[in-house]
Symmetry: C2
Subunit: 112 residues, 2 copies
């Protein structure tokens, strides 16, 4: 495996260029899949939960978002630099991302 590299902000679509969230896989190792995600206003569709078989470490690199974790009374407010480790099968929904600025996430899906 050689050294792969890039910049988290390189080649991002401009605001309004994509109607849906934008996903970009960066690297894959035997135990991890790393991607960046750009949101600008998108949320998890009403009534849906994200329920993943892998642990997910996610960092909001820039922007602003709200993440609802099942069983918690209120969404968590996320600002630049905020990170969470979501254990496998921890159901969660993105209930808000700022429509006025891009929100850039770095997400690591970690085999359990």
């Amino acid at each position: 495996m050689s050294v792969v590299s890039g910049n988290l902000r390189a080649g991002l679509p401009g605001l309004g260029q994509s109607d849906s969230e934008w996903f970009d896989g960066l690297v894959q190792t035997p135990n991890a899949r790393i991607e960046r995600i750009l949101s600008h206003g998108q949320v998890t569709p009403q009534g849906q939960w994200c329920d993943q078989a892998e642990d997910e470490f996610v960092v909001l690199i820039e922007g602003a978002a709200q993440l609802q974790i099942e069983g918690e009374s209120q969404p968590r407010q996320l600002a630049a630099g905020d990170w969470l480790l979501l254990p496998a099968h921890c159901r969660h929904r993105v209930v808000w991302t700022d429509p006025n600025q891009p929100s850039l996430w770095l997400a690591l899906h970690l085999r359990t």
Copy 2:
């Protein structure tokens, strides 16, 4: 495993508060160890190489640094947002970090 969370910039030591690089483990999963590192001017000691048994995905969140990879003719210049996947046993050295601003790294050590 419950949801663990934090902010990458929370509780960082101030410039000059630490003579050495500052390491802070964030989370550990069965296949990953995630930490943040703060440098301000420190480098890998002369003549030493970092040689790790695990893959390392590293992102420079902010700051500026130069990373030498063994066998490459010149150090790589790193700016905010730059990331690399360093395969296990890819020998590397940090040859420069900006002494005038903090350089904040997010490092993921991934079991191979």
